[in-house]
Symmetry: C2
Subunit: 517 residues, 2 copies
């Protein structure tokens, strides 16, 4: 068999069953081999940023990697922003980048570039396969590297002739290193800090945001009186009725400082020490208050869930965590705003929904109004590279076909990867998209003021203005095959959203809202 | 004044008067300063690939750089594909990438990444400004580096605090090195080869594709009997009635081999030695026939125009080049195909039009049917990274506001940077876009066969298929503010295209055509 076939067989044997593709000539043998390996689902995207963002959404929900299939250095470039977000989310992804045939690379043809260099920032592992009889083993190693822990982007560069040459055979799955147990005395040390060290908070991220680990970290907080916080932009946070309530650290440094004020200890659980998202003149970047000691319980290759279970035992935590009471806001009436739209979402969110949140300023009220909605997962923009929300929704819907996906999407950010709508239609994914159309890059109005840019003149203001010409998301969705409707009042938004959530398959609701700032 | 203001003043003083922007928080002081420097035109784009592609189109037509304004590593990633094309086109671009404040970088905040690494492949020059009193000098150096010759992408990384701190002052333009004269004895050597060396061809690219250099290279060919060829994907080729006719080297290796067969000498004028675009099993990558000697007349930092003028004198070339006779095809009737659409374009192309050609397979017939149309410029996909055509049209229209721009655009490629339509509407650019909608990645059907991928199965075929759901470009254009119409017959295409070309401002015509393969 040729290299492409052996590669696909190996990926499937290693548990990779979805490939988000945007192929070109150098990937043709990979594409041809898809017909021989029906266990691999190829999902076509119209733009690489959709492919990489979908792989991120898939990996966050499935807990195992999807593959991508990108076309040389420029295709990787197009996918880089969402790989950056995936790196920050510690999502496992097998990132496959086709390359010119080895025999062709010396000629510096038009598409030639140094793919490894482009991949460097986002990848924990980069290998360019150099022989047909090596490619299957490289693929198995890529899956293991991606799986971690921690999850990461493993980039496999795939020269065309390595794929098309015969003489390959599939490789067995590579042994993953497995998580490293956190030492019992370190757990005991953290337990002592939380019990006796004065005011403390636990900041959770990554693997602590869902499943038994979330229950355990909430038990620890309940048992010690520590404040429980989640990082500002978690990769996946389970929440809603019956799940432990967790407050997220604010994006705004002043608010975050208030959340952390007076702490003597901050314990990090698979989370980074809190820093301001951007720098601002005369504001601190480091959000940890003076006199507060930062201690890492578990991170990286550590067994996060195991450490939390041990910590819960060490502090004598109650057997069950606090649980959020069910509560939904009333269906809103009157003007449609970010606030009333969030009330409608809280009123209607289906049980077990997956929320892909890139609503930015328009999403400010969504967490509070959905806090008591039926249990759901909340996926956020982990790396700040906008254009993530719709692709992540694609991947989450493919990972979890029995769950409704709700994408909360800002208008400006939607336009980076709007092509995701077509893949939702093509694959008939059960995604409801809400686009909050405030006809501006609203966050920048706020940020210009925060960085001390002064009162903006007309030119600066025009750089945040998306009103001329107005962008019509109902029409854009129709052009890409997704049925859509527009809401101008709270009542109409409730009605459109309810119909969209009730319908199987993709729907888009454009919510016309004023900017919140 | 602060660093941002000094930077803008310096760019303007150095001849950079347009900046294609997609800013974020770290670029706010740059944006705020635009109100103080009205000589700099800020052109907002919805996606960084539009900004970088527009800078490419601008630089190709203006002959001097535009600036970009991108947001950290992920913004640069989104712009990378069109910077790759610009690198291959040797287009001068001052590529400005905002970064976190220097004081913030140690904290590894969410958007932090190594920007220089991402920029490496596409940039001839990368500097990260480290001080407010250095940024103006860095900007002047960036303009000089970009200008060349050869033109290139100069990347200036701009930390936010370098911009917002006071104490900067503008810098004068940096001295450009200027082109290096080609030695007279080398010109004489090439003249001797062309006169007496047996069958010869001249392959032109870059700066030899337009202006007096094009006249001179055509005079040399006429005076020596050498065959005159242009590289397959020229950055800018002047053609049409009254300009020298030049045959382009074929994309298909077999056809290119036929064009080069029997040559004893191939003289390169600002062009790379011809290689196959992709590798194919059992086909040569190097297209230079055995026994043919390759000689570079001028390239890189050389004075290409001066070398050609000297060569024309050395070979005793006729005083004027051969000139294309005016000839237009009749307006086509009947079925709308890539061929009849090209006839319509040839029948209607306005004088001095700028054609941005990313029509791919559907554009096969456009060069032949426009050969005798009124004089025009033809801009092509120089680096193979699709998604270039619409952004290049934006930039060309801004560089040349008195000329009609015609973008010939394949459907699949259009969807990488479809956001360009909004900037066309916002800036009221005089661009007519023809989208050839064959509802497939048609080139891949051909390429799968050429790489020996065998008869595609249903899964492989589905990876080239854009018909389910069908993509409606009339609707997409309307959603982004560009009036559009659809043509299904040759007659209706003529009528829609004529109306679009007659109207000022942006228009889109969707041409429903069958795939040519």
């Amino acid at each position: 068999m040729n290299g492409a076939r052996a590669l696909l067989d190996t990926l499937v044997a290693s548990g990779v069953e979805v490939c988000f593709t945007n192929p070109g000539t150098s990937e043709m043998h990979f594409v041809a081999a898809l017909d021989q390996v029906p266990e691999m689902r190829g999902v076509l995207t119209l733009f690489e940023g959709v492919a990489t963002g979908a792989a991120d959404g898939y990996g966050r929900m499935a807990g195992r990697p999807a593959a991508t299939l990108l076309h040389l250095g420029p295709g990787l470039g197009n996918g880089l922003a969402n790989l950056h977000n995936a790196r920050r989310a510690r999502t496992p992804i097998v990132n496959i980048v086709g390359d010119h045939a080895l025999s062709h690379q010396r000629y510096d043809a038009q598409l030639q570039s140094d793919i490894a260099t482009v991949a460097r920032n986002v990848s924990s592992w980069i290998v360019s396969s150099t022989a047909t009889d090596a490619v299957a083993g490289d693929a198995a190693a890529a899956v293991a590297a991606a799986a971690g822990p921690p999850g990461s982007v493993a980039t496999l560069v795939l020269p065309a002739d390595v794929c098309w040459t015969d003489g390959a055979s599939p490789a067995p799955p590579a042994a993953a290193p497995g998580a490293a147990a956190v030492a019992a005395d370190h757990v005991e040390h953290v337990a002592a800090l939380l019990r006796d060290g004065g005011p403390a908070a636990i900041l959770l991220g990554g693997r602590a945001g869902h499943g038994p680990a979330l229950d355990d970290v909430a038990r620890v907080a309940a048992g010690t009186g520590a404040k429980l916080l989640a990082e500002t932009f978690p990769a996946r946070l389970e929440r809603g009725a019956g799940r432990p309530p967790v407050e997220r650290l604010s994006y705004l440094g002043d608010f975050a400082a208030a959340q952390l004020a007076g702490l003597r200890h901050l314990v990090l659980v698979d989370a980074a020490s809190p820093v301001s998202f951007f720098a601002y003149p005369d504001k601190p970047s480091n959000l940890v208050p003076e006199g507060c000691e930062v201690t890492v319980l578990a991170a990286g290759a550590d067994d996060v869930a195991g450490a939390l279970a041990a910590l819960a035992a060490a502090v004598g935590a109650p057997p069950a965590p606090p649980r959020q009471e069910p509560a939904r806001p009333a269906r809103p009436t009157g003007a449609l705003t970010a606030d009333t739209a969030a009330q409608a979402i809280g009123a209607l969110l289906p049980e077990h929904a997956i929320v892909s949140d890139e609503a930015n300023t328009s999403g400010l009220f969504a967490p509070v109004h959905t806090a008591g909605a039926p249990a759901h997962d909340w996926l956020t923009l982990t790396g700040g590279a906008i254009g993530q929300g719709l692709p992540v929704a694609v991947g989450a819907a493919i990972a979890c076909p029995d769950r409704k996906v709700l994408a909360l999407q800002a208008d400006g950010s939607a336009l980076y990867t709007i092509q995701a709508l077509w893949t939702m239609a093509r694959e008939d994914l059960d995604v409801t998209v809400v686009v909050f159309n405030n006809r501006s890059y609203a966050v920048l109005n706020m940020e210009l003021d925060r960085v001390g840019g002064g009162e903006p003149g007309p030119v600066a203001r025009s750089m945040f203005d998306l009103s001329d010409p107005p962008i019509d998301f109902v029409t854009l969705a129709a052009g890409l095959g997704v049925p859509a409707s527009r809401a101008d009042t709270a009542e109409s938004f409730v009605s459109h959203l309810e119909r969209a959530l009730d319908a199987p398959g993709p729907r888009l609701v454009e919510a016309m809202v004023p900017p919140i700032v």
